[in-house]
Structures are given as C-alpha cells and as structure tokens.
Amino acid sequence: MAADAHATTLGLDHRKLAMWTFLGSEFLFFGAFVATFLLYVTTTAGGPGVEIFDIPFTSISSFVLLMSSLTMVLAHNAHRQGDLRRMRLWILATAGQGAVFLGGQVFEFTVFVKEGLVLTRSPFASSFYVLTGFHGVHVFVGILLLLSLYSLSLTGKVKKDQDLKTEMIGLYWHFVDIIWVVIFTVVYLIPEIAVG
C-alpha cells in the first residue's frame, strides 16, 4: 500500500496509467482500418469478396484467441498469489494459443492467396490484409512480450511481488483480444450475412 508517502499524484502506477493511455489511442488506430474495410467491403474489382471467408475456421481461431485471455488472466492471478511456477505455465499456454491463432491466420492467408485474393487484387483485399495483418503484428508483439516475461521470471529478474509486469502484459493481451472480438463480428460475421 502507499508505504511510499510521496507516491504519485493519482496514487496510480505510472506504467499502468501509461498503458491505459496508450490503449485508448489504439482504438483510433484500429478504428481507421475497420472503417476503411467497411468502406471497401464490396469493392472487390471483380476479385474474391467476403464469400471467400471460411467462417467455421475463423470461428475456431477466434475462440482460441478468446480463451487465451482466460489463461492470461489466470497467469496474472497466479502471479498475484506469488505462484511463479503456475504463472509461467499459464503464460506459456497463452503464448501457445496466440501462436495457434497466428498460425491459423497464416494458413487463412495462404488459402486466400491461392484463391486469388492477393494484396494487390482490390481495395477490399488490401484493406482486409492490412487490417488483419496489423492485428496479427499486435499478437506477435504480445507473444514476444509473453516470452520475455517467461524467461525473465526464470532468471529471477521478474520476482514474486512484481505481478504488475504480468498485469501490464495482460492488459495489452486482452486489448488485442478485444480488438479481435470486434474484427470477428464486423469484418467476418456481419459482412458475411449482409453481403456474402
């Protein structure tokens, strides 16, 4: 608790405050990509459109990503209770699910490319790849963060009482998940019903 008398003005940790500040701005980042996608959802220039989506497949990878949020929060929970071993287990599980999601995305992309949906095909193709691609980059960065947390906790650099680190990475991870919740609905499901 505020053992430190000259704590911060708001009584909040800088890093957490900074993280939330940053996440607020990320909405404007992804929002612009989503808006672009919506604008171009039917602008396929004669190439493949939303009918190309494999909803069952994407549903599964979306589900995996959603569940990675559970393991992430369990990792934080374990860390908070000082159980680094269990924390590391959940961290690995989270990173693993993230990797599965990314693998799914790579697979999806290769299938689409085979079916003629290349980046240069149409505004639809460009906006689809760049939106989901940047989300993928965020997942990838998240995996790197998780792995660094994992290894640092092995070498004792991340200590029992430093669950804030796990929490921070968790915040980022959950945020990336939230964005996918939106993408899954707005990019995959709704266009599939409305247009596809």
Binding site: L10, D13, H14, E26, T36, S122, P123, F134
Partner: protein, 639 residues
C-alpha cells in the same frame, strides 16, 4: 548521487559526447531537441529561400519544376514535423517536470527514445535528397498522386511514420507525467496554463497520431507494394486519404499552436505583473479548442468531392472554433490591461504573438465561408493564413519562450538590445513576406506552382517580389538571433535565479537548473505558487512583498534538514540510442522492400528492447530495473 562503487553497467560520465547519447535527464533531452530544431529550421528556411527566389518574378526558372516541388514539400514537412512540433517538445521536456514540481518525466528512457526516433526520422527524410529525390507530393501527400511519385513518397510515408512514433511515445510519457507526478498540492486548477496546454496538446497527439499512422501505412502499401487503397482504377477512393489525413491534420495545427499559447499565457502575466486574466476561462477555452478541433477536419476539403450537407456542417464547426480562441485572445489582452508592462524581449514576442495570430485567425474564419473558399482554397491567401498562425503564432510564441527561459537553462541573460533588434526585424520581415500573400492569393495566385504564371504577372508580381525581399530581412533577423544565442551562451550577463520576477515553480530552483531540479519538492498551496511565496496580500488585497528569507521562496540546496537524503535520479542509459538505430534498417528495408534488412532492424529492436528492460541500475542495487523509471514504485511496493 552515483556512488564510487558503481559497476560499469551504465554510462556514468556527466560530460562529453557519450553523456549526451546516454542522457535520460529531461533537461538535457530538451536541450538536444532545441538545437536539433535549430538545424532543421535552418534547412527549412533555406528551402523557403529557394521558393521565394523562384517566385520572385513571373515565368522564372531558377530551379526546375521537379526540384521546386521537392523543395516546397520538404519545406512544409520540415517546418511542421521537424521544427514546430519538436520545438514544442523541447519546451515540454524542459518545463513540464519543473513546472509541476517533479524531478523528471515518468519514463526518462522512453523520453530519450522519443528524441532519438525524432532525430533519426529527420535524417531518414533528408537522406532522400541523396537517394533519388526528396518527396514531391506536398506535405499533405494526397493520394493517388503519391503512387506516381515512386520511392520519394515512400520516404514521405515511412519518414513521417517514424516521427509520429516519436510523438506518440512522448505523448504517453507527458500525459502520465502531468497526471501523475505533480507536487503535493498541485491540483488541476493550480497547474500553470502551460501545463494545461501541454496536457491538451498531448491528448491531441495521442488521438491524432494513430489516424495519420493508418493513412501513411496505406500510402506506403500503395506506393511501394501495390496496395489498392486509393487506386481509382480498382475502385479505391482517393477521398478516403483526404479524410484520414485531415482527421489528423487539423488537430495537428492545434498541436502546433497550443504550446505557444501556453507559453504566452505564462509570459504575459509576468511581463504585466498581474495574474493571468480569467485563468479558468483560458484553460477551458484551450480544452475546448482541442476538443472542437477534432470536428472540423473537412474544412480542408470544401472543394473536394463532398456534398452540401457535409460542407455546411463543417463550415459551422469551423466558424465556432473562433469563439474559444477569441476568449483566449481577450483574456490575454485584459491581462495586460491595468498592468505595469515591462517590454522585455519575451514580452515583445508574446504581444507580437497575440497580434499576428489574430490576423491569421481571422483569415481562417474567412476560409470557412464555403462559397468563397472555392476562390481562396489552394491560393496564396491560404498560404498567408497558415504562415500567420504558424509563423506569427506558433513560432513567435516559441521564440518568446526561448528568450524567457534562456536564463533558467543557462543562468545567463540574452542580450536585450539584440533581442529587440531581432523582434522588430522579425516582425517587419514576417509581415513583408506574408502580408502581400493575402493580396496575391485573393487576386488568384495558386499555391504549389513551380512557376508564377505570366498572365498573373501584372497583378501579383509586385506582391511576390515583396515576399521575396521579406525573406532577406528574415534571414538577417535570424542571424541576429543566432548571434545573440551563441554569444549569450558563451558570455551572457549572469541572470540570477529569478530575473523576471516570475510566478511559477521552475523559478524557485537555482539557475541553471541543478540536475535534481528541486532539492526539496515544494508543497503547493496556490496557483502561481512562487509568486505567493514572494508576495502576500494586505487587507485591501494589495500585494506586499514578503521579505526575502521569510518564506521558503527559494529552493536552496545544501544542508537543509528537510532535504531528502537520497534523491533517486534516473540513471543514464545508452539503450534508447542504440535501439533507435534499428529504425534505419527498418525504414530502408521497408523502402527498398528488402526483407533481410527489415528483419535485421526488427531483431535489433527486439534485442535492444530486451537489453533495455534488463538493464541494471548504475548503483548496482538489485532493485527492479524497470522501476528505475519511476520514483514511486507503487505497484511493486503494494505487495
């Protein structure tokens, strides 16, 4: 601070090149920003010299169309992204911690990171001149023109992206600092106006930078990798780029003006020896400008392909932004009203700011008269408008700040005599350069033309000649300033700690500011805290000076019992610098579509990041290294 037993894990030297590369001291980073912007200002000024040389007469080709287009583009980019924004960042860096009573920013290493990213982004952009030609698509880089400009617009897209990253990191840093590191008692309504404007500006950056990031990524994909975002041939819509650009671009212009408004809001009261008139109104007006500023972007697109309802809506929102701005202007004027004004150089520049900015603001309002905007748009009338707000506004304010806080940084005064020369020639040269543009623009001279059309010659040639002559005056004036700056740094008169009889916290510390800033963090009981430590009010409300020493009006160093024994200052670190170097391989890798180069850069970044987070403290205690970045490790201490 640093003990002799320090293992050589972190650089500890306090002088020399290495100490600057490794510095995490917000004051030194501020100084780095300052000198870097000077260099870029020189470049941007030289470019504007070529512009004016070319346009001095009609149908003249001193430089080719191609080169002219590169030069005016780089002039705009340089002045906006490499001069005004980072110069504001220099003030943020130096002043935010001092003005809120903190010892540094929330994330000192991230702060250094921001600076190096800025510097390398600027170098990257300028390298284009030697690598096949600089961007020639204007500072707005409209699609789909960019796609035909090839590599050069790749420099634009990637370069500005990098600069944006710098600003975004800085924005997060400063917001956290202002929200979370104020001295005890410094409530929001006791914050100096400059801090308020810094807060608003950084929120604008926070929400605007991601938008331009997206626009630039799309531009980059279109230009370099065959993306179809804005390609009309396959159904892409060029207007989308305009929306995204101006969604950022308009907040951006307030990003450039609000810091200057904050600066003059500090200087005018000191110069008039009265408190700021209507503090609350000025603060709320600033916040309102920032907020409304997000809702006016399409006023740059009145002649583009948007319909009448959209045009009307944006005309209205644009006009009404004059209301909060007017509130500020009138409050500034009434700060002077009834004062006892000392026209020192900073004060002259501040009054010049108010006066010149109003001219630019009023022409801004006339742009919003949409039917007539169709005549004004993309003419020199617009060029006049934005130079009056940017040069007459932002730059005048920032220069006022340079003169005002110079003693704080160096402990010396700048020459008042040269300062006055600088001011009057600057004012004259500025009006001579940009005043005539109002006329030439209204008469019909379009902007971004490499040749001043002969048929316009008779009507606007004289105005153009005057503009070109104005640059000569400005150059002379800039040299006076430069001379003043250098000689004053070397052998300026000692200023004492509080040369202006100022009001805010930073003047409580000795000048030049010691590296700890405050030996003892003050407790704040008033707005304009320092003033209230110097003056009390008698029964009739008249201020009476408190005899020196009767209160803790100065933050004396030394063996004061109250001084905290162990002041934990951020340790220097080389990693921000080393890590930022990765942006070169990343940027060129993306530009030349070289995956290996890109991968090298990415790996460099990751390794750099790892070294950064595992970096031990200089003092060798096994404290959590990340916590070195914040003095109050509440999170960790909580458990």
């Amino acid at each position: 601070m640093s003990s002799t037993t320090t293992p050589k894990l972190r650089p500890t030297k306090e002088t020399g090149v290495l100490s600057w590369l490794a510095t995490t001291d917000h004051k030194r980073i501020g100084i780095l920003y300052f000198f870097t912007t000077l260099v870029f200002f020189f470049l941007g000024g030289v470019e504007s010299g070529f512009i004016r040389l070319q346009l001095a007469q009609a149908e003249q080709s001193v430089i080719s169309e191609d080169l002219y287009n590169q030069i005016f583009t780089m002039h705009g980019i340089t002045m906006v992204f490499l001069v005004v924004m980072p110069l504001s960042a220099a003030f943020f860096n130096y002043l935010i911690p001092l003005m809120i009573g903190a010892r540094d920013v929330a994330f000192p290493r991230l702060n250094a990171f921001s600076y190096w990213v800025y510097l390398f982004g600027g170098i990257f952009l300028y390298s284009s001149f030697f690598l096949g030609g600089a961007p020639a698509g204007s500072w707005v880089g409209y699609a789909p023109l960019h796609a035909t400009e090839g590599m050069s617009m790749g420099f634009y897209a990637i370069g500005i992206q990098i600069l944006g990253l710098s600003s975004l990191a800085a924005a997060v840093n400063f917001i956290t600092t202002i929200l979370n590191m104020r001295a005890p008692g410094m409530t929001f309504m006791r914050m100096p106006v400059f801090i308020w404007m810094a807060l608003v500006t950084n929120f604008l950056l926070l929400f605007a930078i991601p938008v331009i990031a997206v626009a630039l990524f799309m531009l980059q994909f279109d230009t370099l990798y065959g993306g179809q975002f804005f390609q009309p041939g396959s159904g892409g819509d060029p207007i989308l780029y305009q929306h995204l650009f101006w969604l950022f671009g308009h907040p951006e212009v307030y990003i450039m003006i609000l810091p200057a408004m904050g600066i003059v809001s500090e200087i005018l009261p000191v110069g008039s020896r009265k408190p700021l008139f209507g503090y609350a109104a000025v603060v709320f007006a600033g916040a309102a400008i920032g907020f409304i500023g997000f809702g006016v972007w399409a006023h740059h697109m009145f002649t583009s392909a948007i319909g009448p309802v959209a045009r009307s809506a944006f005309a209205l929102s644009t006009m009404f932004i004059a209301v909060p701005t007017g509130i500020k202007v009138f409050n500034w004027v009434f700060t002077m009203w009834g004062g006892k004004i000392r026209f020192t150089t900073p004060m002259l520049f501040s009054v010049g700011f108010v006066s010149m900015f109003v001219i630019g603001g009023l022409s801004g309002v006339t742009h919003a008269i949409v039917p007539h905007n169709a005549q004004q748009h993309d003419t020199y009338y617009v060029v006049a408008h934005f130079h009056y707000v940017l040069f007459g506004g932002a730059l005048f304010g920032l220069i006022a700040g340079i003169y005002f806080w110079f003693p704080k940084v160096t402990g010396k005064l700048m020459s008042e005599k040269l300062g006055k020369w600088h001011f009057w020639t600057w004012l004259l040269g500025f009006n001579l350069t940009f005043g005539p543009m109002h006329m030439s623009g209204l008469l019909g001279q379009p902007r971004r033309t490499a040749v001043l059309p002969g048929e316009l010659g008779a009507t606007v040639e004289l105005y153009n000649l005057l503009s070109s002559l104005g640059v000569i005056v400005l150059t002379g004036s800039a040299l006076v300033f430069l001379y003043n700056l250098i000689t004053s740094i070397k052998r300026g008169e000692a200023s004492g700690d509080d040369p202006w009889n100022a009001r805010t916290l930073e003047w409580m510390t000795p000048s030049p500011t010691p590296s700890v800033n405050f030996y003892r963090i003050p407790t704040i009981t008033h707005r304009d805290e320092f003033w209230h430590r110097k003056y009390a009010e008698d029964e009739s409300g008249k201020p009476v000076s408190i005899p020196a020493g009767a209160s803790d009006d100065h933050d004396s160093d030394g063996d004061d019992d109250h001084a905290e024994e162990h002041i934990h200052m951020p340790d220097p670190s080389l990693w921000p610098f080393v890590m930022c170097l990765a942006f070169f391989p990343i940027a060129y890798g993306m530009l030349y579509f070289n995956p290996w180069l890109f991968a090298l850069g990415a790996l460099w970044l990751v390794v750099g990041y790892f070294l950064w987070i595992t970096e031990p403290l200089a003092e060798g205690d096994d404290d959590d290294p990340e916590d070195a970045d914040d003095h109050a490790a509440v999170g960790a201490a909580a458990h």
